[in-house]
Amino acid sequence: MKCGCARPDSHLIYFQVVIWRAVASIAWSVLLLPVTTAVFVLLSRFSLFHPIQWISDCTSLLAASSTIFSLVVLCGVVLITGFFNLEFYTLVPSIPCSRMALLGTVLHPRQCVHSLVYCTMGMLVMWCASVTIGGRYSTLGTTCRQSESGEVVTCLNEYHLFILLAGAFMGYSHSFLGVVQNMYYVSFQPIQQYKYPRFKGCLPMVVKCSVIQALYSARNFAAFYFFFGYAPKTWISSTLNLQIDSSLQPLDSLTGLLDLSLLYHLSISGTFLYLTWYLTVLLFRIYVTEAYSFPVQSTFTEDAEQSLPKVLAEKNTLVMKFLALQDLALLSQHSLSRRLEVFSLSQPGGHAHNWNAISRECLSLLSELTQRLVAHQDAVASNGRVKSQSASNFIFPVLSVVVSGTEDIAETPRLSVPLRTPGSVFKSSVGGANSALTAPFTPDVDSPFSSPAIRRLVGQQDPQSPCFGTVQSPHIMRRGPKPWSASTGLSHLVAASFSEDQFGVVQTTLPNILSCLVVLLEAVDRHFKLPHASSKPVRTICSMGDSTYKTLRFLLRAVLKTTIYKITTTFGEHLNAVNISTEHRKRLQQFLEFKD
């Protein structure tokens, strides 16, 4: 799913879209750094009783060369974080099935490298923080006077070491929690927002998360240092030949740790650290999931690879496929002109390539999901219930892929609803055909000339043959430009055949769509009968990890039902003329009566 794309064209569009977005998000993270650093400086030097001195100290500190150097280091950290985001992000959450599997993931070499890099980055950020705070934290070595001899030697500054080790600890816990909470899982939002309002809306949540996470980490690290702090301290002091100042209280003791100032600085430095990382992740998510508008139909052959049907069929770059699905959902709801493009016919030949490709892709996604669900159910049936828990965990990553596809197929009939007026193909209600949207494309059904012609045309069809579109439309289309030896409503009829084609385009696939949806719904219903499937996950209060993947199965069921309801309410009784099997018809009848 990364740049493993074989074809140069798909690589190009991946580069154009995703890489540029990642670069833009990193650029914004870098631009935000001075702001967060300034806030951090203000908070770290805070003194309630000397406000004027506090402000003047901070302003001079912000202009100091050490701060500028820290900013350069922090920029490097942000760049590396952004690179890791791009490299590690995933659209399919990885759900370890057992503790062992989780352990395996954590100890995976790739993850080890990740942890190591984050430890280093944590130490770097904390070094910058300690330099910024200054005072007793600023350097690793301090001068001290030995108690017996009284000579001045270089001693180990335990406060500095403490802060650096805290950075490494927080870096590791960030890396570890990233696996546990699926930090790199990028999910698409249920609603679309512009980037700035979305960032503004998420900012309080991110600040809150980083504060909470920093407090937890500070507590855990304090406990960790209390028990194991002696080891790194002696190691560093012996390696660097630094003395340990015995006049100071050692920090791996209870009294040493109960230093409010130390804990305050640890917490705000931790908050600063987490905020830097979380903001980068947030900006990356916002940029990557921003809607991208693909051309429905490419004018030139060079950019044919960028057209919506082509990208939908994309196998290598999953993110492009998701963006295309999102785009499909959006155009189905909000863009009439692009919908019309979907339903248009190719100029020589008169084939509905666009619609066919799109519907084929969506249907294959759905049937693939159905197959997986059925296979999973079979596995459970044969192996008993022991395996079910793990297997059901396996299946939901897949759901996440397809659920957006489902939503789109949900939208697809919806978008066509205003266009294909059911009455015009099926025999019964010719009169109900003029909605505002169809007006330019439907013949004027109420006009005295056209309507008998259409009625006759429709009347000729056997009402029981729903595939009228398949058989008839190419003929009609081919004859369209030729003179029709027929009635006075000649011109209207050409228009009618054209518009019938518009409808036929969708209608031919309607039985497929319906049966595919019903089969999937049955599979999902059966899935919910499995043990544990209908139990709700525990809601996490505050974490940067996106936990929406835990409820995907409920989402899938709700979306499926809404989709079928949308189709049944639009088509109503006309569905009886659609050629589907009896069981499916029975199920659809329940939907028609709102009994499901």
Partner: protein
């Protein structure tokens, strides 16, 4: 399922019916002998020269009545019943924990301050100082937004669409958008679901279901009902095929978000994919993905909260009213909003035209209806225009003169866009000035028009509290009204859609009928 049309009011078929509405009823009486039962009810109708008030019941829709006596109100909160029990001293820790649980930080600080002799002095003094500071801050905040000083129940009563909510046996009402069933929330915090042709009435009760302020069925779904409660949002899944009369509370999803309660308004998107909830204390409204139980807050500064939400039928816009003199109209594609400051009060009620192009609004304390038009091409109107002035006017009624008119409390537009019902507040002190529902015929093309059609009044002493049009009544429009005596009744308006017949003559006939009344300034038609 409904009986064959009783043409109380036909618009199209034959013009002779339109000589006068009184005549319409007599005429129908002669013709439809087999509808004796309805017509004897119709004889009670108050006929106001040319406009008709109808009191009819379609026979198979349930119209239950609830009285306050039969419903036990919900148990009082523990703090108010405390005086009934003997005082028993818990330890300070227990009391503090209880206070924290019951009343949050305020309660905890209050408890510590009150038990000054048991705690260290610095703690008592400190908590007293913090409490004073908090009170000062909240009173300052409250002076900006007075509604924040209300208690949770008072706030629900203030902003509920049900008038006189706290006193009413009926708390909320909602028709199902596709089938003939409706849900009623009652004083005892239960919800009952009534279906036509079915005597089974499932009763929904849940521990969290307190002070129900709004109900709405999910569109494109047979079972899901969203309930706005005092502390959370409940989504009931009531299986329509089940015969159970007491669905378990396991059928309900509980959605809550810290700082987002009480919830006073909810709105499903017309496609059923999203649910938006609003609370007067939260400046953000929550856009819920119900199946995933996740919410996206949409925060805007200003207004002090969100009280009322209404989604346009085409799904493209969403109205969000605030407790201040400000409302917003969100477009739902990219979720940006237009800000509409009002001159005087807050927005009280609103309704969308079926195509989503026109929004009618009423403001608190005002006797006019405003209209806003929206258009994707031109951007819509820049200012709201007054389309109707509903000041007091007297009409000759059967029992002497009747005064009609007043504050517009509620608006409802029928799904075909042909009838508009307006709930006008009466004057309880005056003798002949009851609350009535005025019904208008509406046309949106070529220009927006409101034509007076009639009044709906209750039995003696009963005032309308809430009204909603049936979402898919086939023979015209069906207005369901909740009355102050706890009765729910259905008022049908039988007409065939003017758009299909395409004749203008009935409209003109009606206009000539009512021309003399529009001259006495009850309805000053302004063409927007």
């Amino acid at each position: 399922m409904f009986p064959s049309p009783v043409h109380i009011y036909t618009d199209g078929s034959d013009a002779e019916d339109h000589v006068s509405s009184a005549f319409v009823i007599r005429h129908q009486k002669k013709r439809n002998i087999h509808h004796q039962t309805q017509l004897s009810l119709a004889a009670n109708a108050i006929i106001l020269a040319g406009v008709v008030c109808v009191w009819l019941q379609p026979c198979d829709l349930p119209s239950p009545q609830f009285t306050r006596d039969t419903l036990k109100g919900h148990s009082r909160p523990e703090s108010s019943s405390r005086s009934a029990f003997l005082d028993q001293r818990d330890t300070l820790w227990m009391r503090s924990a209880g206070a924290w649980r019951d009343a949050g930080l305020y309660g905890l600080l209050d408890e510590i301050t009150n038990s000054a002799e048991e705690v260290p002095r610095f703690l008592a003094v400190g908590s007293a100082c913090v409490l004073a500071l908090l009170r000062w801050a909240s009173s300052f905040h409250g002076s900006l937004f007075p509604h924040l000083t209300l208690s949770s129940d008072e706030m629900v009563a203030e902003f509920s669409q049900m008038l006189d909510w706290s006193d009413s046996a009926l708390r909320s009402f909602a028709w199902h958008p596709h089938t003939d069933k409706f849900a009623v929330a009652l004083l005892d915090d239960s919800i009952r679901i009534y279906k036509s042709n079915s005597s089974a009435t499932p009763t929904l009760k849940h521990r969290c279901q307190r002070s129900v302020c709004a109900l709405q069925w999910k569109p494109l779904c047979g079972s899901a009902l969203a309930v706005a409660c005092q502390s959370c949002l409940l989504i009931w899944h009531v299986d329509p095929t089940s015969l159970s009369t007491r669905p378990s509370s396991g059928c309900a999803q509980v959605l809550s978000h810290p700082g987002h309660s009480p919830i006073t308004s909810i709105a499903w998107s017309p496609t059923g994919s999203l649910l938006v909830s609003a609370s007067p204390v939260d400046t953000g409204m929550m856009v819920w993905d119900v199946a995933a139980e996740s919410a996206v807050p949409l925060q805007r500064v200003g207004g002090g909260g969100v009280t009322y939400l209404s989604w346009s039928p085409d799904g493209s816009r969403l109205l969000a009213a605030t407790p201040s003199a400000l409302f917003r109209v969100w477009e739902t594609r990219m979720w940006t909003c237009e800000r509409w400051p009002c001159l005087k009060g807050s927005c009280q009620s609103a309704c969308w035209s079926p195509d989503g192009g026109c929004l009618l609004l009423s403001m608190q304390g005002e006797r006019v209806i405003y209209a806003l038009t929206f258009s994707d091409l031109t951007g819509g109107s820049k200012a709201a225009s007054v389309v109707a002035d509903l000041s007091e006017t007297s009409f000759p009624g059967p029992d002497g003169d009747l005064t009609v008119g007043g504050e517009v409390c509620s608006l409802s537009w029928d799904p075909r866009g042909e009838r508009l019902a307006v709930l006008l507040k009466g004057d309880s002190q005056a003798v002949n000035h009851p609350s009535v529902i005025a019904v208008f015929k509406t046309r949106s093309s070529p220009v927006f028009e409101l034509l007076p059609c009639g009044f709906v009044m209750g039995e003696a002493g009963a005032e309308p509290r809430f009204m909603q049009f049936h979402p898919h009544f086939q023979h015209g429009a069906l207005l369901t009204v909740c009355w102050s005596d706890g009765r729910i009744s259905h008022v049908p308006f039988y007409f065939s859609s003017a758009g299909l017949l395409g004749g203008d003559s009935p409209q003109q006939a009606l206009a000539s009928n009512t021309a003399d009344h529009s001259s006495n300034k009850l309805y000053t038609e302004q063409i927007s």
